[in-house]
Amino acid sequence: MIVMLSQISRENQQIEKATIDKIFRNIDDKKCTIFNAGAGAGKTYALILSLKYAVNTYGKMLKEHNRQIICITYTNVATEEIKKRLGNTSIVRISTIHERIWNFIHGYQKELVELHLENLIKQVDELVEQTTNQKEFELYRQLSNDDKSNFFNIMFENKDTYYKSYNLGAKDFKQALSSILGVYASLLKNVAHFKKIVNTLFRIGNYKKCIQNIHESKPGYNEVLYNVLSNRDQLHRMKISHDTLLEYGYQMIKKYDLLKRFLVDKYPFMFIDEYQDTKEIVISVMDMLQQFSVDIKHPIFVGYFGDSVQNIYEDGVGTNIGNFHSGLEVVNKEFNRRSAQEIVYVANKIRNDEIVQSSIFEDCQGGSVEFYVGDERDATDFIEKNTLNATKENPVHCFMLTNKSVAQFSGFENLYLLFSSTQYYKTYYQQLNTELLSDDPSKLGEIPLLIFRIVKFINKVRNEETSITDVLTYSIYANNNLSQVKVLVDLLKRIEGTTLLNNIQSICGFYQSEDNLSYKKVIDSLFDIDESSIVDIKRYMIQKLYPNMTEEIEDDARKNVENILNLEMNEYTRWYDYLTGNHLGNVVYHTYHRTKGLEFDNVIIVLGNSFGKERNYFNLFFKNYKDSGHLIDEDLKKYEQARNLLYVSVTRAVKNLKILYIDDVSGFSDVVESIFGEIQVYSRDN
């Protein structure tokens, strides 16, 4: 049987309409609402309808008073999708939370700079605190105050030598610096400690300088900038990135009633998509605004659209939303608009709460769910055998248990392994998932983002269909004539190399050899580090990937960074294609997280006990499934995380779902069978 998913009975239509009408009424009554919709319930559909309702009912009035409706999405991809489905509009402002918050506050630079100043002072205090109690600073602490400042001055004057020597081995590093340091050479005893001291002192110096510049109102120090394309603050350059932006936004709105007043008057309707993965601080902002609007008797409407069970990011508010925004009215929707009935059944079982979905369609039968048990070595064979009929037009999507296997199947395993073996990602293993594999560049880690920018740039430059403005900013091409632009573009087209390093060498080579100011500007903004040179890139990478350098690991660190740079460009391009969703094959591989919000006809999930660093993850879910009520604290949290992730994964499937479990299920086979039906043993020989 073919799953059609096309016929909706009159009765179901009316039930669905009643749910939607409930939201409409709440919009009219300015009753803040949580719309809880299980996976595939048509959450986006309901969001669009609600937006349209608000536009149609209040649009003319809003336009007249120059007021607007806000819609906040989780990713830029979602922003585009909603814009597309809503059509042209001047009434609804759709964006990610960061863009919105920046839009809220960027006009109040005087107040922002004040806030920034406070933050700088706080940062300096914290760093100074470190120098007084952390063990790396032991030798430094023994210096007299005069010596401390002498030492700082010497290092500051020899900044260049310090940075140039930064990547050298411990012995050479000491040699390079000891003559400069004179009496302070003893501080070099432990190179790693020494670097930590100097880096911290430099930061303190930078921040203090910045504080001074702000006080003196030097040019460039009278405004705070938000750097969309970077994940790191450059506080001393007055640049902030995503997290600090949210923090500043929160502080500003909290502090200034006039700003609150302006915002509630300007934006009487606010819609937040995927609330469960929205940061708590954002919900607090909404709560503040709504409370304020009630106080001044201009109530606003805030609508949260999402599903707490689909909360898969740890910094998302999830079920705790009530703690941050109270008095929300809950509207549940229990129809499923996405999947065949067989899949909806499995999803309900996993979810196992008060929301029990049924398909809205009459013709919802004909899907399939198959559960196999095998072992790790079966995965390749299982995928191969089950994707024989896949085509580029009708691909099979495989959700892989580990980032490593996604990387391996997608053709960038080396890249993945090298990054995961760095000190930083060994420590923050959990971050690797987003910082190396997120489809949203703003969520990438600092070094992956730097490389992403470079790879993207090279890919763009090599594609003749790229818009010139995609590689050159206005300030570069403004007031140039065509011949000048042509010289620049031709130069960019000459960048080449088989490895990433070769390419960067090529870029830096032209930087040295060609006397072209525009080219230098392009490259400076591409690298966005102090100097556009290979040495600086390497130093930056070592600094970030090995934040706590010790002499023992120095050689490894340098070698690893070299290896990262020496990878084939093709591998980076495959990584880039993966991140940008440019799927070229019949089989597309995903991490579980990456599939959020998407849907696919045919899904294969490779499942097992462990997930990430957790050895016992999904097996704990199955084991506790029947009696999860007794779980508390960490155990409950883990249980919910596993459930949410499994729920999100399973509900991506529209028609056919195949699961391969690569560990023993005998301890909880009854639960598996109750959820997925018959367990089949997979054997490679068949």
Binding site: K52, N56, N88, T469, Y477, N481, L482, K486
Partner: protein, 669 residues
Amino acid sequence: MYLKRIKINNFRKFGLGNNEVELVDAQSYLKRKEAKDVNIASTTTLIVGKNNVGKTTIIQAMNKLIHGENINSNDFNFFYLKKLFSEYKIDNYKNIPIIEFIVTIGLDKGRDDYVTNIIPFMLLKDIDATEMNIIVRYELTDTELFISAVKKIITKKYNESVKFSRILDVIDDSHYTVNYYDKNMKKVEKFHLKDLIDLAMVKANNVTGDKCLSDAFNKIIQYRYEELFKDEKEALEDKLAKINNSLTKDIERKHTKPINSSLKRVVSGDILHVLLSADLTFQKLIRNMVKYEYIEKGNHIPENQFGLGYTNLMMIIADLIDYMEKYPDSAFNSRINLICIEEPETYMHPQMQELFIKYINDAIATLLSFRNKNINSQLIITTHSSHILNSKVHIGESFNNINYVTAKDNFTKVIPLNDILISPSGTTNDKDFKFIKKHIKFNFSDLFFADAAILVEGISEYNLLPFYLNQDRNLKHKYITILNINGAHGLVYTNLIKALKIPTLIITDLDIKRDDAEKENFKQISSLKGRTTTNQTIKAFNSGMDNIEDLANYLQDENIYVLFQRKTGYYFPTSFEEAFIAKNFDNAILNEVLKRIKPGIYNEILGNSVNYQYNKKYSYKWQSKLSNDKSRFSNEILYEMMTQEDNIPTLPNYIEKGLKFLSLELGSR
């Protein structure tokens, strides 16, 4: 950098085809750029066509486009809207009304213009391109508001025309936004066409009063003082202050005191004083500074005694000077400057129209050499003057950059002309084409402004046809130009006529080849078996064959109908006169005229009988005998027809058939 082409989709009478205006081609642009002397004629765009076909709409479209004005329902093509609305269903509003323009910018090889404004539309591969498209769309600012308003109308049971006008109201209430896209339909933000293109409208018909010329020049002089001669202006103001000072003293001494003492006597006490002072200012001075006179043979003739035409021309030039003066000095351009002159021919006598482009060219050349400015300007002239058209062809030595505008089935059609299209051989250096360029001014430029054309190959047709056209119920309201092409040289115009797409008749002669004996005996021919023709036109339209055995009743090639004599009674007449006589053999007027000019022959043919059948039987003889008196023959016939009311001879059948074709073609408009 120059404006090369503009395509207008669904704007007013423009539909989706024949809607591209070619402004300047690359070749002309280069020619002008590389030339030593300023010659803007080659890059001047001419938009020609008769009244009410959409010439002004083109200018209005550009004006709206460049100045980003809002649009309303009247700006949409109604046929387009009708079709669109008819597709609307309760839950389907897929296509919402938009107006689209595609602006093509030419990039020259010199490439020394700033491209800041065009870069956002370029892809990497376009770095060597010679032209770039900018797609401009007027799109609804709030789609959803439009759809919900339309939905309300659709659900009501209005009849179609009420529905239509209600939706038009919705469009008028909606706000439109101008959006720009590159060729891959990627939206380009933060761009405004006016950053790239500047459009100045020079008003023709701007003669508003006796002193308008002086006013115009005063304005320019004032501007020049304020912007270019600041020091001199200051010095002048100092002088004025001194003059004011001494004048005021003088006034006070000579006038203020006596006046005040007189006042004192009338109005008692010290309550009222007057204070009189000189108040010359720079502005006041300049306003009356220049007197504009024309020097003719040493006599100064004041402005208000010039003819309107001359004043009009001078006003246009004054506007141009004003425009040029205000344009900043720079070695580079980042904009394209369009100067638009609409129908400048008003009030100008033909000779002045003929020289108009030369005047403008000389004026601009002088201005440029004087100020050493690099002005990236393009001139666009709309006109319905054949003289201005002639002068463009003549001075520019080309048909390039001429856009012929016409209307068909309620749609405006733009036909961009160029030399290759019009040249008989498809190349620009053959003799026939040189001939056209020179010859066109002998009435042939009428083709551009006519509803239809009739090309005749003899004086009789040329003399008599206007009379018959004036009698025709359908055709008498149309402008039909009749051109006499003696011999076959009319054939060189075939490509031009095809390009203009106006219905055209070529009325030619069957010219059956007769041997000497047949000529001698005035042999009447009753069968075409084995016959050939000597007529080059028939040959050309008959696939080059002179065999006329199976010749069709008429020949057609696109919009051209070739007509010639067919069998009348027993015989084939081979000329207009012969066919005319055969058709009207018993007509009193005809017989009277024949008798009057050729009494001897008339006698020979008819003898004493009144059997007019002989006229038919000896039609060929008549033709031969009349061959030197065709002009007289037709003039006499015309005279009689004009002065008598009844018994008007009728046209030969082949011509009547031709006029029927014309009626049909023109009726469909």
